[in-house]
């Protein structure tokens, strides 16, 4: 037993170090002078914590942070509002056309975004919403294919016996979903919410397309791309800004991953 414990932790630590290396590289680069960044000299010869200050001096980082937080939170909330009920209907309700609709939802992920943006951009321009983050947040009210698929798969693993019990007790489907299913589906919902949040947080192409002409709506990812002169990128400042961008979501992740531990244990119903 002790051997297994040591072995497990050793492997995990070794893997952890490997996963960490490139991030450490970014951290080291963030303290370098701009002359030393991206050279073979990996350890800073002189330390420049002022790089972090410079990030704040050169860009309105707090505003970008606020925009990013609004985008990520809004997108995640809207996504959950639409996707959880849909995933439930696809997983646990029986109706004609269910498989076809499910396949169609999966198909939503298959059109390359480079071409779907062309007709969609025109649509948003006609509604006067370009120059803001709305074209990125509002569509979440109509569901997100990836999240719906993920949630559906998680909901499938919940034994029907629980739902039947609730229905027998007189619960309608909405009641069943909210009272019985949601607590049991916490890991899946946490995963889907986290994915959406982090995707929106690091999304570059979306904000670039819809908000680049309106700097007051810029997100952190756009700010990251602005530390360049005509011919060169200032990787030390970019690295500092990158790490600053990561701090909030690392914290969010650290606290959110607890939700994966099952709160309610299922006892011997299946099999």
């Amino acid at each position: 037993m002790r051997l297994a414990f040591v072995a497990r932790h050793s492997i995990a630590i070794a893997l952890g170090v490997m996963f960490l290396c490139p991030i450490v590289f970014l951290a080291l680069t963030s303290f370098m002078s701009s002359d030393q960044s991206l050279t073979s000299n990996l350890w800073p010869t002189s330390w420049h914590p002022g790089n972090y200050v410079e990030v704040f001096e050169r860009t309105p980082l707090p505003r970008y942070l606020l925009n990013t937080a609004l985008y990520a939170t809004g997108a995640t909330l809207f996504m959950l509002l639409a996707s959880v009920p849909a995933a439930y209907a696809l997983a646990k309700l029986r109706w004609r056309g269910r498989t076809a609709v499910f396949v169609a939802i999966v198909c939503m992920m298959m059109l390359p975004p480079q071409v779907t943006t062309v007709p969609l951009y025109l649509m948003w321009a006609n509604y006067g919403l370009t120059g803001s983050l709305w074209p990125l947040v509002l569509p979440m009210l109509l569901g997100d294919a990836f999240s719906i698929f993920l949630l559906r798969q998680f909901l499938l693993t919940i034994p029907d016996e629980y739902l039947d019990a609730a229905r027998v007790d007189g619960c309608g489907e909405w009641r069943t979903l909210l009272r019985v299913v949601l607590p049991m589906a916490r890991p899946g919902i946490a995963a889907a919410a986290m994915f959406q949040f982090f995707y929106a947080w690091n999304d570059y192409y979306g904000p670039l397309l819809y908000t680049s002409e309106n700097e007051s709506a810029w997100t952190l990812s756009l700010g990251l791309a602005s530390f360049r002169t005509l011919h060169a990128v200032e990787w030390n400042i970019v690295s500092a800004a990158t790490l600053l961008t990561m701090v909030p979501i690392v914290v969010v992740f650290f606290f959110a991953q607890k939700a994966f531990v099952r709160g309610v244990t299922l006892t011997g119903v299946k099999g």
């Binding site: 025109l122 005509l230 011919h231």
Partner: protein, 434 residues
């Protein structure tokens, strides 16, 4: 359920119709002497310090044109501009990073034809060098004006060679002489790294050495029919074979990033290279102990009298089709591209080459810098050439570059038919883009 699918079809059709942009009628040009006024929106791609330089010049403009207000948006790229124009919005004035957009924007009408404004206000286009004029117009439509230029020439390490080579064979001989190998045969220092795709060594930048032509007058590709390209490829292949392609690639893979302080020329790992005028500032900043010299591009042995030129390209600026205030937009463009004071000031701030003959004649501080002066001379030289605008933007350069990647690895077969195939690809792409 037929009724649902019919409804969906109707909705899709309505959506499609709403997606088509209404055509904008071109506004008539105002009569001469009318003073332009109002607000214009100016998009450019610079960020940070260079954006501040632009702001300085725009402030000068506003001071001398108090009736015009300019809203500047930095960090905008070509794709964004095109999508905005396509959606009926977009800036009044757009500044594009490269000349690739000129062909596309002229052909599609995304940028207005400025000819009427030029005629009305008597702008003398001869004040623009011929190459600059050529990369700001397409098929007779002048939809762009040149902003600032980049010139590409030759850099050499003075500690290793006192005078630069003037012909390709001199370059080969010097490259071989200056190459140092380690005992195991791998390259320690290369005299010249002839791989296409390495740093700024591209067919566009090396083409002027042999006077190679890119496009025929009708817009079709001339790569397969111009023997100059074969001359360049043969010269390059000979040098690559001397080094050994695998050893060369291994050496190249070990070199630092072009834009870092580990740049191979900065570290003395290559003795000579082709690069732009901006490299001077980098060298002075990051590699103070490297004694470098600047020179024009070496030329083909058959035409030693061509020596003195190089490659030139630049930023371009134009008025959008969807501009709300084209008159004021033209005023700003005229100022930025023909006012000698503004051009010289901006060129000195951003350290680029000014694009009019007047500015070149009196370029301020830039002219006092002997290394930079070489590039000013290259810019004005008759044998300097550029990459012509095309309806498919950089397609011809990139189709050629893709073939060259295979060719220099020895997997491209015979260059004669290979280049003709490249021609075919390019011509088909031109057709596809309409």
């Amino acid at each position: 359920m037929p009724s649902i699918s019919r409804k969906m079809a109707v909705i899709a059709a309505i959506a499609l119709v709403s997606a088509c942009t209404p055509g904008e009628a071109e506004k008539p040009v105002a009569s001469p002497g009318t003073e332009a006024s109002g607000t214009v929106e100016f998009w450019h791609f610079f960020t940070d310090r260079e954006a501040k330089a632009i702001d300085t010049i725009v402030a000068d403009f506003k001071a001398s044109h108090p009736k015009i207000d300019v809203v500047v948006k930095s960090g905008q790229d070509d794709t964004k501009m095109l999508q905005a124009i396509g959606a009926g919005q977009g800036p009044d004035i757009g500044l594009s990073y490269s000349t690739d957009t000129v062909g596309k924007f002229c052909a599609s009408g995304a940028w207005l034809d400025l000819e009427q404004y030029i005629e009305r206000d008597g702008v003398d286009l001869n004040k623009l060098p011929a190459t600059v004029r050529s990369y700001t117009e397409f098929k007779g439509r002048r939809c762009a004006m040149p902003f600032l230029a980049d010139t590409y020439g030759f850099y050499y390490n003075k500690a290793l060679l006192p005078t630069p080579p003037r012909t390709l064979s001199e370059l080969t001989e010097t490259a071989k002489r200056l190459t140092k190998r380690k005992p195991d045969g791998t390259i320690e220092r290369a005299g010249f790294l002839p791989l296409f795709g390495f740093y700024e060594h591209s067919p566009s930048h090396l083409g002027p050495a042999v006077g190679a032509k890119w496009l025929n007058d009708d817009g079709t590709s001339a790569i397969g029919s111009d023997p100059a390209w074969l001359e360049l490829l043969e010269w390059q292949k000979e040098l690559i074979d001397w080094y050994g392609y695998d050893k060369l690639e291994k050496f190249r893979a070990s070199l630092g990033d072009e834009w870092s302080a580990d740049n191979a020329f900065h570290k003395g790992q290559i003795a000579m290279m082709v690069d732009g005028e901006y490299r001077i500032a980098f060298l002075r900043d990051q590699a103070k102990d490297v004694k470098f010299g600047t020179a024009p591009l070496p030329v083909s042995d058959a035409h030693p009298d061509w020596y003195g030129g190089g490659y030139v390209t630049g930023n371009v600026i134009g008025v959008s089709k969807t501009a709300k205030n084209p008159e004021a937009a033209w005023e700003l463009i005229r100022y930025l591209t023909t006012d000698t004071g503004a051009i010289v000031k901006l060129a000195n701030l951003i350290k680029n080459v000014p694009s009019t003959t007047d500015a070149l004649a009196a370029p301020g501080d830039l002219g006092n810098d002997p290394d930079f002066k070489v590039f000013l001379d290259i810019f004005a030289h008759p044998h300097t050439s550029t990459t012509p605008p095309s309806a498919v933007g950089p397609a011809y350069e990139e189709a050629f570059a893709t073939y060259l990647q295979k060719y220099q690895a020895g997997k491209g077969g015979d260059p004669g038919p290979g280049l003709k195939d490249v021609d075919k690809q390019i011509n088909q792409l031109v057709q596809l883009a309409g």
